[in-house]
């Protein structure tokens, strides 16, 4: 049986299955978790009745479950149609993973990496944000923004210019500092971006480990292996009325820019929310934050140049 050991988002992981992109990293993790494969029937049988349904509804074996559930003692049940179901203990020490039948690792592990591991990071004392994080010369930049704002495209462009991923979709910060924790050595690209070589994909396209029409291509990439201080946060949005790319330094920083980038709000305790505010406040007061307005016809290379100008 394949096994995997490594660290992602500041949490040491030990899996009884292969996890492409999971690397053994030098910095000590904040906590550890075991990932175990399990049958969905067993996961559901072990999950208590009466949990708080956070999202969605589905039926398995005559029992109605939520796609996301929280139970005070049992922890969290996370499911994604077309991916699988994961039961996370309340202390974040163990995850039972029940992939949907017949899926390759790269496919079902998208939910594991995109939602379950960030939840583990939160349970182990980090705060997480939706962001692509890249490193060059020991400094990291985070690209955040709404879906479709262009984070992945711009990240791929920067990789094409010699930057490395710290994490392709999750900024994990362990307070009191503002260092970005490395994720997995993986990224995703839209199939059209891979096909036409656009979006700087020549810099991001390592070994392709899978693809489909829903999730695009999954690629192994070079990863910065150490926690890296944030040098800037760029909050991206698109505006067709704008010509080119406009970067504006924000001072003072509107807290909503950072709060809106947070996610994994299923952990409800007071300590966690204080941590979220602490991390957002620390970023707002110590890290330059810029808004980036990307016009309809802005080229990724020009947008990247505008960002790097702001960074200088």
């Amino acid at each position: 049986m394949s096994r995997a050991r490594g660290q992602a988002f500041g949490v040491g992981l030990d899996a009884d299955f292969a996890v492409p992109g999971l690397l053994d990293l030098p910095a000590p993790p904040a906590g550890h978790a075991s990932l175990r494969l399990a049958a969905l029937d067993d996961v559901v049988a072990a999950w208590p009745e009466g949990a708080h349904v956070l999202a969605g509804e589905r039926v398995h074996g005559g029992r109605t479950l939520g796609w996301w559930e929280r139970h005070t003692e049992a922890g969290y049940l996370i499911g994604g149609p077309g991916y699988g179901t994961f039961a996370v203990t309340a202390d974040g020490a163990t995850v039972a993973c029940a992939p949907d039948e017949g899926l390759p690792e790269w496919k079902w592990q998208r939910l594991l990496i995109g939602q379950v591991l960030p939840l583990l990071a939160v349970l182990h004392g980090h705060e997480v944000f939706h962001a692509a994080v890249l490193e060059q010369d020991g400094r990291a930049v985070a690209l955040t923004g709404t879906s479709g704002a262009g984070k992945s495209t711009l990240a791929a462009e920067l990789v094409g210019q010699g930057w490395r991923y710290v994490a392709d979709d999750v900024l994990a910060v362990r307070p009191p500092g503002v260092d970005a924790q490395p994720g997995l050595a993986l990224t995703s690209l839209r199939l059209d971006a891979v096909a036409d070589g656009a979006a700087g994909s020549d810099g991001a396209d390592g070994t392709e480990i899978g693809r489909d029409d829903v999730d695009g291509a999954r690629l192994l990439v070079d990863l910065c292996p150490t926690p890296t201080p944030l040098a800037a946060v760029f909050v991206l949005h698109r505006d067709p009325a704008v010509a080119g790319t406009v970067v504006e330094h924000q001072h003072p920083v509107d807290p909503r820019l950072l709060l809106a980038a947070g996610y994994n709000f299923v952990v409800p305790d007071r300590e966690r929310w204080l941590r979220q505010l602490d991390v957002c406040s620390a970023i707002a007061t110590t890290v330059p934050v810029h808004t980036v307005t990307i016009g309809a016809h802005a080229r990724p290379a020009d947008s990247a140049a505008a960002l790097l100008d702001a960074l200088r």
Partner: protein
């Protein structure tokens, strides 16, 4: 809520409320409602001091000294802020001030 003697009240920040200062704003989160609220710098400082000492009068005196403003004016502003925070469940009355 009737608050004619709010200036003499003792107030506290409820357990379900957390707040932190940003550059020029304080973000207050009501964990019960999930709603975030924003306060300007002066109001944020008032809430911070209220959370520490619980006394509206003592907070007004401290803020007046910090900002070099008349106590009466600060007290009026603070009472108005407290009324607004009480309405939103971001403060609660701890008891009357006997002093």
């Amino acid at each position: 809520m009737e608050t004619p003697d709010l200036a003499d009240a003792r107030l506290r920040v409820p357990e379900h409320v957390v707040f932190r200062s940003f550059d020029e704003e304080t973000v207050v989160l009501n964990l019960d409602s999930g709603q975030y609220h924003g306060l300007n710098g002066t109001a944020g400082r008032m809430l911070e001091l209220l959370g520490e000492n619980g006394s509206v009068n003592a907070t007004a005196s401290a803020v007046a000294a910090e900002f070099g403003q008349p106590v009466d004016r600060i007290t009026a502003d603070l009472v108005e802020l407290c009324r607004s925070l009480l309405e939103r469940g971001l403060l609660e009355v701890a008891g009357a001030d006997s002093g």
